[in-house]
Symmetry: C2
Subunit: 208 residues, 2 copies
């Protein structure tokens, strides 16, 4: 089985120096890559800027912005059987990226943010026989929000986690299947969580 | 001689997940710490979030935001003989940090940014006999901008570099002394640049 995996944050630059981002380190996504490789799958990794070494034995596309991640995923998804969207993609980007470095004026700055492309939603529209497993990072009304994302992005399952997970070595996740049922809930190191998720994907989404 | 060194970026959160930052990796600041230690100085490092191991043999204060870096520097500067401000401190922060994670609404988002505390300018006002070496990251009108910062922050010297330096292993810098003269200009690995800067500080600002 050939699996597209996204990992890490994206960065949305307002000028040549400053950007919007989040503290994602890519650990969850890279753990999924390792687990998938060890289980014998082909992997395409689309990775935002992280400090982790490139995993061996798989194609790696390095990107910076959500727009680049969107394009990379669109180019590889058709050749894959499914996607696991573990990246912490920025939801907003500055409307314009200014050249150079915006000078301080002594006053503040009004930053006009627009929503970025929703990568999984895009893949959901062209999925056909392919499966999609998304991640939802939620701080409140977590389960209803995760269910809404599951539905609107045409996911086959969604992994619910919490802002505490960002950058941490371990995490607590709940795996919600297409019917909205809890298919699993674990607190463990990300390597272990990754293996649970891959095992479930193989048995349920036909990843064998 | 006891030297305060700042390194790395800061992060300015708009909610519990998203922040403004820059791609500084802390390499220049950490190279300065190593060089200063090898030259026999005492060092206090105030470091933003970086992926570098904590240097041995010096006090390390880890901070996230520019406000925390400002407070850490204010608390340690009085016990030091000088400061090298190599951190890429965010100039702007969101006026408010919202709890949780701002929900997408399908519309954009207006982000109201205010200027952060200018750490070196604050230290410049209380410096007395202490020396201050700043960094200026400039994309255009570089030298006039660096000279203006030198003056307004009461620096004894300013190191002019370019956005290309961010995250790179080597860099091109120009060292400008208090009179506005070029005291040195080098293109080299950051370890080498750090040693040039420390040598100049020792000979000119009385760091022996």
């Amino acid at each position: 089985v050939r699996i597209l995996i996204t990992a890490g944050p994206t960065r949305e630059y307002l000028d040549d120096v400053r950007y919007l981002s989040n503290a994602s380190t890519g650990k969850m996504g890279y753990a999924l890559v390792r687990s998938a490789r060890l289980r014998g799958h082909d992997v395409v990794l689309v990775s935002g800027p992280v400090d982790l070494p490139a995993p061996e034995g798989c194609e790696v596309l390095r990107v910076v912005s959500s727009r680049e991640m969107h394009a990379a995923c669109l180019s590889r998804f058709p050749q894959c059987d499914g996607v696991i969207g573990a990246a912490a993609v920025c939801d907003y980007r500055p409307r314009a990226r200014l050249p150079g470095k915006i000078k301080k004026t002594g006053k503040g700055l009004q930053l006009d943010l627009v929503e970025t492309e929703d990568i999984l939603a895009t893949l959901g529209r062209i999925k056909e026989h392919r499966w999609i497993v998304g991640f939802a990072l939620e701080s409140e009304d977590a389960r209803p929000n995760a269910l809404r994302k599951l539905e609107s992005k045409h996911c086959d399952a969604i992994v619910l986690n919490h802002p505490r997970a960002i950058g941490a070595d371990d995490s607590s996740i709940e795996l919600i299947d297409r019917s909205g049922e809890t298919a699993g809930a674990w607190t463990a190191e990300k390597a272990v969580l990754a293996d649970h998720l891959l095992a479930w994907i193989e048995s349920t989404l036909g990843g064998d």
